[in-house]
């Protein structure tokens, strides 16, 4: 029969806790999703497709940039294609604004905004509107006199064939009169490459600028997780140094140091962080430091408690007697023993920091790095809630970033709880 070490027992306890195991799996999944996801789903999050705007999940369109330029014997612009035969079907479209004017309950005129050309009738959502007759019920609000509708006008479809050779140059471009064809992405119906359709699917839809939401969530997750982990590490380092020093020094110094912690504990730190972010530039490095400085107090307290319980043990006395220096005793013999507890609390600190960063981003202070704004989950949720619409038509913009964030926070909290219960059954904060 073999004996079981306390660590093994702790892991057995953890294994029994299904909720925290689930949390651990969730965290692992989210980390892999954010770190490796952008390589798997190839659409670039910085590609802006303004003409599409916000589209619902599973929206798909031909794979091209917002403008495609094809010139014979040159590389195609706005398309990335390998060698092979290409077929593009396109159709010119125009969006027209049509003005419908009402007088005495009857339609007075229907005319184009642009060239003021008059029409006798127009079809609108299966309703026929005819000049001189009453419009369908519900089309005009009470007291509304003028209605402007937008209609798409489409022209005949064209099919363009060309080849791409080994060097990536357009060959055999068949055009009617010129050597260059310029196509807008909204006019392209499909792109076939060696008889295979080239399309992009936006699994989670697109945002207001037509950027892929899935990609943005994954990149935002990187920012959120990075802030969470680095700021926690900062607080960890400060807290461990401070806590061990206070505990090891003891006496008056300990009292003063922990008194300072007590005082700082009562400060509303997030206010100061907010001020810091407003006043100085919102550099991500500064944010790491600021959020780390908020969190180190708890860590210092926990570490101090741990060190105090260790310091009178026999092996420390033995180390002292054998002539080990203070630093050696602290960082060879004491700190490693506190690590278990520290790691447990680190797991619980990461979600708190992520939440604080997203709080700042939601207020309207997203982090920046060298002048460019880094969108974290917090700022995605913020943008989503702004773009939601009156009755929540663009729900996906808010829903998916929120879900990503809640999953991660839930996973981290559940895992941290389980770890704490398993490794440290006595502390219950």
């Amino acid at each position: 029969m073999h004996s079981i070490s306390p660590t093994q027992m702790a892991f057995m306890r953890l294994y029994k806790n299904k909720l925290s195991l689930f949390g651990g799996v969730l965290v692992l999944f989210m980390i892999i999703f954010c770190v490796f996801g952008p390589y798997i789903f190839a659409d670039d999050a910085s590609t802006i497709r303004l003409f599409f705007g916000a589209r619902p999940p599973l929206f798909s369109h031909p794979d091209s940039a917002s403008q495609v330029m094809l010139t014979a014997n040159k590389k195609p612009r706005g398309l990335t294609l390998d060698e092979g035969k290409v077929e593009i079907k396109w159709q010119k479209q125009q969006i027209q604004e049509i003005r419908i004017v009402l007088r005495r309950g009857k339609v007075k005129s229907i005319q184009y905004q642009k060239d003021a050309k008059h029409l006798n009738k127009i079809k609108l959502n299966n309703n026929l509107i005819i000049v001189g007759q009453k419009p369908p019920v519900g089309l005009f609000k009470p007291h509304q006199r003028v209605l402007i509708v937008r209609q798409k006008k489409s022209f005949a479809t064209h099919i363009t064939h060309f080849d791409i050779d080994k060097t990536g140059i357009v060959k055999n471009l068949q055009t009617a009169n010129s050597t260059t064809i310029t196509l807008k992405a909204e006019n392209i119906i499909y792109i076939k490459h060696n008889n295979k359709l080239k399309t992009i699917i936006h699994l989670l839809g697109t945002d207001e600028l037509g950027r892929d939401l899935l990609q943005r969530i994954m990149l935002g997750g990187r920012v959120s997780l990075l802030v969470g982990i680095v700021a926690t590490l900062v607080s960890l380092i400060i807290g461990v140094l401070y806590g061990t020093t206070a505990a090891y020094m003891g006496g008056l110094i300990d009292k003063l140091m922990m008194g300072l912690v007590d005082i700082l504990y009562a400060l509303p730190f997030i206010f100061l962080v907010l001020l810091l972010m407003v006043i100085f530039d919102r550099n991500i490095l500064l944010l790491f430091l600021a959020l780390g400085l908020v969190q180190w107090l708890t860590m210092a307290r926990i570490v101090r408690g741990q060190v105090l319980s260790l310091i009178n043990q026999d092996y420390i006395q033995a180390a002292k007697l054998s002539g080990a220096s203070v630093f050696k005793i602290l960082y060879k013999h004491i700190v490693p023993h506190t690590l278990g507890t520290v790691i447990v609390f680190t797991t619980l600190m990461v979600p708190t920091v992520i939440l604080e960063e997203s709080f700042l981003a939601f207020i309207g202070l997203p982090v920046q790095y060298q002048g460019t704004t880094l969108d974290s989950w917090g700022s995605l949720v913020h943008q989503g809630s702004l773009a939601l619409g009156e009755s929540g038509q663009k729900y996906w913009l808010l829903l998916f970033p929120s879900l990503a964030m809640v999953f991660t926070l839930f996973g981290l909290n559940a895992l941290g709880d389980g770890l704490r219960d398993a490794f440290d059954p006595k502390t219950k904060v």
Binding site: A266, P268, I270, L275, I279, S358, F362, L388, L398, N413
Partner: protein
């Protein structure tokens, strides 16, 4: 008595440090309240700087501000047409206070009852659900939960107003949003505190003496079991004030939190100082009350 005095001295020190740090931070930062107004002439900004003592050395400014603040004069807002800061605070504090108060009461009610129930039936289905929900409650940020409640109860069911401030119904969704994470924390603290007490000898003695279960829980166990909740109450109130910054934005409540964020963005020095000091006083008082309550419930603490 010494305990109470020590705590009060602590509280005053905290306030002093908070005011000093905030003052130094906003004064030592690059840019000033008038640097954004490009239309202003140099002579005008000079005059403005002189009027608000911004031309003097920072220590003198600090002395002037502190003297004025101690005599109750928090200065005027630099961006809102010379409105006194105290007036702005007086108009915007009540909504925040109501919101926070309702939230903390809701959190205590929900959290403590959930905690007690799950401590009475540990490792049962009820316990499992309560604790699972509490993890979700902690993980659900206010700016996710708030819009969720808004969409469901206001936009979909039309039971409650979407946003704004007026009667008690306007405050229901915001305070629920604000209360959720704290209710979850209270539930866990209550559960662990009760579990610890329920396993002690005096409870067994009381039980064997024939004390009725209801009385046993409410009178005997609760006094000890609620200690962790009470000690967390101070920090919780501090976090509720910061949480209200977000909730006030989501639900468009004209509270102090929005004023603070706006004034920070506008570099409205005196308004920032004023709001931070008011928040600081509030938090410190809540911490004090929490400490004293703890001392009343657990006499051992008083000896320190």
């Amino acid at each position: 008595m010494r305990f109470f005095f020590a705590k009060i001295i602590y509280a005053v020190t905290v306030l002093f440090i908070l005011a000093t740090v905030t003052f130094l931070m906003i004064r030592l930062a690059p840019g000033g309240p008038f640097s954004q107004d490009q239309a202003l002439d140099v002579s005008v900004t000079d005059a403005l700087n002189k009027r608000y003592h911004f031309d003097k050395p920072i220590l003198t400014q600090y002395k002037i501000y502190m003297q004025n603040a101690l005599s109750g004069d928090l200065g005027v807002s630099l961006k809102q047409k010379n409105k006194p800061v105290s007036e702005i605070i007086v108009t915007h504090l009540p909504p925040s206070l109501f919101l926070g108060a309702i939230a903390i009461v809701l959190a205590l009610l929900i959290g403590c009852s959930a905690g007690i129930v799950s401590s009475l039936y540990p490792n049962s289905g009820v316990d499992y659900w309560c604790m699972g929900l509490s993890v979700i409650g902690i993980s659900l940020p206010a700016f996710v939960f708030g819009p969720l409640l808004q969409t469901f109860f206001a936009r979909y069911l039309h039971w409650l107003p979407v946003a704004g401030y007026g009667d008690i119904w306007h405050l229901f969704l915001p305070s629920l949003t604000l209360a959720l994470p704290f209710a979850s924390r209270f539930a866990r603290l209550m559960r662990s505190g009760m579990l610890e007490v329920l396993n002690q000898d005096f409870i067994r003695t009381a039980k064997s003496k024939g004390v009725r279960p209801f009385k046993l829980i409410t009178i005997h166990a609760l006094r000890g079991g609620i200690l962790p909740v009470v000690s967390y109450l101070g920090p919780a109130i501090a976090s509720i004030t910061t949480g209200s910054l977000v909730v006030e934005q989501i639900f468009a409540i004209p509270g102090l939190g929005r004023e603070f964020v706006q004034s920070a963005l506008n570099r409205d020095y005196f308004l920032v100082m004023g709001t931070v000091i008011v928040y600081g006083v509030f938090i410190v008082i809540c911490n004090l009350i929490s400490n004293f309550m703890y001392a009343v419930l657990d006499p051992r603490v008083r000896e320190y």
